[in-house]
Every structure is written in structure tokens, then in C-alpha cells.
């Protein structure tokens, strides 16, 4: 029994070490961010500057609300991914099937959020002119 428990702990530890490398650890350069993280960064920089680019208050309010919605759903995706990673790195060992299921949940959170994000991005174009769009795009 002790040996089984020891082996289970060993498996959890080994999974954690390797998961670290696959999910979070980089080399000499900072690792590339996940698409949802990069998209959220782009959105976050624009939320507070919309009023400076769009003079019409009604459209500015709408565009700002779309950016806020994008930020919110991407943040929700991060939280969902965090929950799955917590399960993967918990004290209980995960089977191969469970590992696959948790990874699947992580990418479903990523895909689902980016799918919704793209719809909001397309909706945003209905409320900005090409010139305003270019000015918003220039914000880094």
C-alpha cells in the first residue's frame, strides 16, 4: 500500500514537472503568450482611449462596451483555464485520459472565448469609421 501511494505521488510530481515545461516555462526568451492573452492585451490598451478617437458619444459608448465585453470574456477564459490547470497540478494523480480531458477543457475555453471575441470584433466594425478603426489600431 505504501509503495502504491508512493508511486502515485511520484506520478503526480512527474506530471507536474513536465506540465510546467509544456505550459509555462520558457527558454532564454520570454515565451510566446497564448492567443487569448495576447488578444486581451490589445483590447485592454484601447478601452480607455475610445473616447479620444470617437467623438460621437453614443458610438463611443457602444465601442467601449464591446471592448469591455471582449476583455471580460477573455478573462473568464483565463479563469476557466486556471481551474483546469489547478486540477492537473493537484495532489491527486491524473490518469492519461484525465490529462487529455483537462487539456481539452483548456483549449475549449481558449477556442470558445476567441470565437466570441471574433464576433464582437466584427460587430465593432459597424460602429466605427475606417479612419477611427485605423486610429484605434495604431494604439499599442
Amino acid at each position: 500500500m505504501t509503495r502504491i501511494r508512493s508511486n502515485r505521488k511520484a506520478f503526480v510530481a512527474s506530471l507536474a514537472f513536465v506540465a510546467c515545461g509544456l505550459l509555462a516555462c520558457g527558454g532564454d526568451k520570454p515565451p510566446v503568450r497564448l492567443p487569448s492573452t495576447a488578444a486581451r492585451d490589445r483590447v485592454a490598451t484601447r478601452v480607455e482611449l475610445v473616447n479620444l478617437v470617437i467623438s460621437d458619444p453614443e458610438r463611443a459608448r457602444k465601442v467601449r462596451s464591446l471592448y469591455v465585453a471582449m476583455d471580460s470574456l477573455l478573462l473568464d477564459a483565463k479563469r476557466a483555464q486556471a481551474r483546469q490547470l489547478s486540477l492537473l497540478g493537484g495532489q491527486e494523480p491524473t490518469s492519461d485520459e484525465e490529462t487529455r480531458r483537462l487539456f481539452s477543457a483548456v483549449h475549449q475555453a481558449e477556442s470558445g472565448a476567441l470565437e466570441s471575441y471574433s464576433k464582437l470584433q466584427l460587430e465593432l466594425r459597424h460602429f466605427v469609421t475606417a479612419e477611427e478603426f485605423a486610429r484605434l489600431d495604431a494604439i499599442r
Binding site: 508512493s6 510530481a13 512527474s14 516555462c25 483555464q81 483549449h107 471575441y117 470584433q121 466594425r125 475606417a130
Partner: protein
């Protein structure tokens, strides 16, 4: 605290912790800990090789997801972008993560085979505590 839980907590709090430097350093510490605690030269070499393969697998995974990121950014920057433009970007997300899961499983089994439970516990302790 288990490292994944730590990274998850950071992600949860900041919303962007998937590339935190705190977690990035973990692999370097794990390599140092393997060198210190695994005295059998053959198993030590194999364990270090597994960590190196892990690091490479991670980079491959991120390079793959970076293409998704770049594609979405290009669509974001195009005023006349279409739903099809975005859909094209998303097709590789599931395959990329599925491939990462398979690599994770294989590398985990390899790492477990190379270290005794006691060595693994020591390495884990050092990597998390230093």
C-alpha cells in the same frame, strides 16, 4: 504550493499569467535539483534530457499557438475582416493542445521512470522552495 496551482493562481489573479517569469524559472531550478539529488549518472542524464525535451516541447507548442495569435491580430487589424478570416485562425487550436497533451503524457511517464519516488520528492521540493 504545487507549481501548477501557483501558476493557475497567478493566471486567475492577473488574467495573463501564462508566461510569468516565476513559473519560467521552475524548469531551471528543476534541472539544478536533478543534478544535485540524482546521483546515478545514467539516470541523471536521462532525467535532464527529459527536462530538455520538455522545454523544447513547450517551445514548439507556443510557436504553434503564436501562429494563431498572429493570425487573429492580422484579422483584428483589417477593417473589412470577415468571420471566415477569424475561423481560419482558430482551426489549429484544438490540434495544438491535443498534441501538447500527448507530449505531456509521454514526458511525464519518462520522467517518472527515470527518478525514484524519493528523488522526485526532493527535486520537487527544491524546485518549488528555492
Amino acid at each position: 504550493m504545487f507549481w501548477v496551482a501557483l501558476s493557475a493562481l497567478i493566471m486567475s489573479l492577473t488574467g495573463e499569467g501564462d508566461d510569468t517569469f516565476v513559473i519560467r524559472r521552475f524548469l531551471d531550478r528543476a534541472q539544478a535539483a536533478v543534478s544535485e539529488h540524482v546521483h546515478d549518472p545514467v539516470r541523471q542524464r536521462r532525467a535532464l534530457e527529459t527536462l530538455e525535451r520538455t522545454s523544447k516541447a513547450f517551445r514548439r507548442h507556443r510557436q504553434r499557438t503564436a501562429k494563431v495569435s498572429d493570425c487573429i491580430e492580422q484579422a483584428d487589424r483589417k477593417f473589412d475582416a470577415s468571420a471566415a478570416d477569424y475561423q481560419r485562425c482558430l482551426v489549429d487550436i484544438a490540434p495544438a493542445w491535443d498534441a501538447a497533451a500527448e507530449e505531456l503524457i509521454t514526458l511525464s511517464h519518462d520522467f517518472r521512470r527515470e527518478l525514484t519516488p524519493a528523488e522526485l520528492a526532493s527535486v520537487r521540493h527544491d524546485a518549488e522552495q528555492r
